[in-house]
């Protein structure tokens, strides 16, 4: 009898403890992090995975606004050259060690020295001249010139533990290598878990490349306790398989459900779709330099895209709402500026353009091309949502306005090589802005290419406007927020007026979850499972 009672109690407990079992979450990711080392590879899946285990000095909320994280508060000096960060008290690493300024300094030391990093985080610290720790809870940073984007930069990399990396004792940061540290751990020390010690809401459990990343709740977390006891990230690259895994109940949440299945998933009572605006703009960039331009014919060797009237005509000929509606299935927001409404640097006075084919034809005639010309658009076909279909639609719209347009859509690896060799006259690409807002696309896409100043890194249309460059450089050297914003807006207006680049739309990012779950969509398109929770 007693045995029976015990069995009954056990059974009861079994049923009662069911919800505890349900506290593990499995997510299907579209691509896999190449490592769990937070400083090894500065790319989407790595950074998204990092956010669970490693925290940055300052954080970015879902709309990429700066919020306190490991630093509780900060201030800048009068001249804008010195930043003082007050660190949060009582933050512990997963191994129980205290988080102090020393760890931030060690992180900065390791960033340029991660062995074989395919895309390093060096850009995020190279503006800093000195990084010092006046005391354990203070970090002081100086820059040679005022630099307003320091917070965004410091929000972009996770802080690692000096002790877990085998370094005890004080750390002195120097731009040319930190004294007393001869070697740095390889990413493999992170992949096997020895050094994967952060301060984040989840602790590292296991990383099996190609299979899964497993993390467990950090019970000593300083912030809100995460809902899940254990989370697992599984890479499922094929989109059909990802949806099937969700429908079969293998995973609880997937990123990037295929656009063509979205309607069906939305009507499925077992699935909940969450979507949110992203900072990723899909744009067309013009060849501003080639004469003749490689993919234009019928202009006697001239490059018509150098004429602002032709660029305006192209912009007027494109019906952006139609593309959003018919090709993107509503999963996009038409654009005229380079960042969406909720980000820094947008000018609310700039309205969307009404498509007007007649006006486009008139402008073409005025510019000396009454019969138009022949043009080919370059586009990747596997990089952005519906990329080649968008290019096709644009081509048809331009053809209607008199510019006979073809599309040359190729796989991303080939596309980027050709784009970087300036083989296209007009190309379609995407840009996901960081928390810097308008400053991010301004300095990368339209500022003149300048290696020394770090400008124009992705300006493969070779747009060059000295006046605009001056405004951008001034904005990038103005720390005072209102003046910084005014300069961003000024530069933004110059870009729009000159049609330097042609924004088409902002992607809207969907996630599919098991019914009963919800999450907070992030504008940087990162899947952060900490925000997944039961919907009520």
């Amino acid at each position: 009898m007693k045995k029976l009672t015990i069995a009954a109690v056990g059974l009861l407990l079994g049923t009662v403890s069911q919800p505890a079992l349900a506290q593990s979450l499995i997510a299907g990711f579209a691509s896999e992090p190449s490592s769990v080392d937070p400083l090894y590879h500065n790319l989407g899946p790595n950074n998204a995975t990092r956010k669970h285990m490693f925290e940055a000095l300052v954080g970015e909320d879902e709309n990429l606004g700066i919020v306190p994280m490991l630093a509780e508060s900060w201030e800048t000096s009068e001249d804008g050259l010195t930043w003082t960060f007050k660190l949060r008290e009582g933050v512990k690493f997963h191994d129980g060690g205290d988080f102090t300024a020393r760890d931030f300094l060690y992180t900065a030391c390791r960033i340029p020295n991660v062995p074989n990093s395919p895309s390093s985080m060096t850009g995020f610290i190279k503006r800093a001249d000195t990084i010092e720790a006046p005391d354990d809870m203070t970090v002081q940073v100086t820059t040679p010139a005022p630099y307003p984007l320091l917070l965004t930069d410091f929000a972009s990399f996770g802080v690692i533990s000096a002790s877990a990396n085998g370094h005890d004792g004080p750390v002195t940061y120097s731009k040319d290598g930190c004294a007393g540290i001869d070697s740095y751990l390889d990413s493999s020390a992170y992949n096997d878990g020895t050094a994967t010690i952060g301060t984040g809401p989840f602790k590292f459990v296991e990383f099996v490349p190609g299979e899964r990343v497993v993390m467990a709740r950090n019970d000593g977390y300083w912030g809100d306790a995460p809902h899940w006891e254990e989370i697992t990230i599984r890479p499922i690259t094929n989109e059909g398989a990802r949806v099937a895994a969700l429908l079969a109940g293998d995973v609880d949440v997937i990123e990037k459900p295929p656009v063509q299945d979205l309607e069906r998933l939305q009507s499925d009572p077992n699935v909940n779709i969450v979507q949110g605006a992203s900072s990723r703009v899909i744009y067309l960039h013009f060849d501003h330099e080639g004469e003749p331009s490689p993919m234009i014919e019928g202009t006697d060797g001239k490059n018509p895209l150098k004429d602002v009237r032709v660029r305006k005509a192209i912009s007027l000929a494109i019906d952006r709402p139609l593309i959003v509606d018919r090709i993107m299935g509503g999963l996009a927001v038409p654009a005229r500026q380079l960042v969406p409404d909720f980000m820094l640097g947008v000018d609310p006075a700039i309205a969307l353009e009404e498509p007007n084919v007649e006006e486009a034809k008139r402008l073409l005639t005025e510019a000396g091309y009454p019969d138009g010309f022949t043009l080919t658009i370059g586009s990747p076909n596997d990089r952005y949502i519906n990329d080649s279909k968008i290019a096709q639609a644009v081509a048809q719209m331009l053809t209607r306005a008199g510019i006979k347009t073809d599309v040359d859509a190729v796989t991303a690896s080939v596309f980027f090589k050709r784009r970087n060799n300036y083989e296209f006259s007009l190309y379609l690409a995407g840009w996901g802005s960081s928390g810097a807002g308008m400053a991010s696309p301004l300095r990368a896409l339209v500022a003149s290419q300048n290696k020394e100043k770090g400008l124009g890194g992705t300006n493969r249309g070779r747009y060059s406007n000295a006046e605009l460059d001056a405004v951008i450089e001034e904005a990038l050297a103005t720390v005072e927020p209102e003046a910084h914003l005014a300069l961003l807006q000024k530069a933004n207006n110059m870009v729009v007026d000159d049609v330097a680049i042609l924004p088409l739309h902002f992607e809207v990012t969907p996630w599919a979850l098991k019914a009963g779950l919800t999450m907070t969509p992030r504008a940087d398109q990162h899947t952060v499972l900490t925000t997944v929770r039961p919907a009520n």
């Binding site: 790319l43 395919p118 895309s119 390093s120 690259t237 429908l247 080939v414 890194g457």
Partner: protein
């Protein structure tokens, strides 16, 4: 025999060298991995720094020289993406693929040979026609579609088996295998069936054709006349003689599954080398792709060798011929 083996190894090395060269230069022509690996926010100086660090700033013939130099020391290069030696990376994924391939072949043989023999012995029976119709469907529908249908039926609709991934593994001699636990096995069944369907259809058709031809041979009639049991006639005299084409084809197909189970591994998110290859091609991770294809060539040559040796075990005439040569 030893001279023969040495000759075969020599051929393998030659083919591997040619393959490595073609792939090395081919991938260089396709694009620059740094364009895909680097964060687009990186400025021009960082882009150049990364290109330099990965050794991609050197002229291609110099890069190839480094590659050859490494090769002489058994170093096939380090993955640009994963920062691990390419060969080690591939070998770490190999057990998953081998497991999948052998399970698939096993299913194909265990079901395919009996079904094919039934269809060959009684060609006009309704069930034989059914088997043959099934085999036509089996190898004429795309592998990819079959995989998705299997998932839809058994994972989504019936909910019996998981839709993908690799389940729990246990280490046997340091190699993780999944067929020893129920969780692992349940993850293995659907992808293995997906691999098996095409091979099984092939085996059925080969076995049926062989059986139909051989049952009319004089020695089969004679065996029957001697009063041997039908079981022995079919199980020994017929079976042994239809195995040669089946073994040849299965050998090649095994190589095919191991090297190119890309579709199945992608659909089922199976962490094998096929998925590694397709991801590496997408990212232009040249060291991995080159090492992979060299390994594949080696594998094919070895399988062909095993098949040839299996012939001589199955068919004494082959043995005799080789002895003369």
């Amino acid at each position: 025999m030893i001279a023969y083996l040495i000759r075969r190894f020599g051929q393998a090395l030659l083919v591997m060298a040619v393959m490595a060269t073609i792939v090395f230069f081919g991938l260089y022509a396709v694009g620059n991995p740094v364009d895909l690996l680097i964060n687009p926010e990186a400025d021009l100086a960082e882009q150049e720094e990364t290109i330099r660090r990965l050794g991609l700033d050197k002229p291609i013939h110099i890069q190839f020289g480094y590659f050859l130099a490494g090769l002489t020391q058994g170093d096939l290069g380090t993955s640009f993406v994963h920062n691990r030696p390419a060969l080690e990376l591939i070998l770490s994924r190999l057990p998953a693929t081998l497991e999948l391939a052998f399970m698939g072949i096993l299913i194909a043989v265990i079901l395919g040979i009996p079904l094919g023999m039934i269809a060959g012995l009684k060609p006009d029976a309704p069930y034989s026609r059914f088997i043959m119709a099934g085999s036509v469907v089996g190898f004429s529908t795309p592998n990819f579609w079959q995989g998705l249908m299997l998932i839809m039926l058994f994972a989504v609709f019936l909910g019996w088996l998981p839709a993908g991934g690799r389940g729990e593994t246990v280490d046997v001699l340091g190699i993780p295998v999944s067929f020893l636990t129920w969780d692992g096995l349940s993850h293995l069944i659907l992808p293995a069936v997906n691999v098996a369907i095409y091979k099984m259809s092939l085996v059925i058709r080969l076995t049926r054709a062989g059986t139909a031809e051989i049952v009319h041979q004089d020695y089969v009639k004679y065996a029957r006349a001697r009063g041997l049991s039908p079981r022995r006639v079919v199980g020994v005299h017929v079976l042994k003689n239809i195995l040669i084409p089946v073994v040849t084809v299965l050998g090649l197909e095994t190589g095919n599954v191991i090297a190119f189970a890309v579709v199945t591994e992608t659909v089922f998110a199976w962490p094998g080398i096929g998925k590694l290859l397709i991801d590496s091609i997408g990212l232009l991770d040249r060291p991995v792709v080159v090492a992979y294809l060299m390994l594949t060539v080696f594998l094919f040559v070895m399988i062909n060798l095993v098949v040839d040796i299996a012939y001589s075990a199955l068919d004494p005439r082959v043995r005799v011929k080789r002895g003369k040569a």
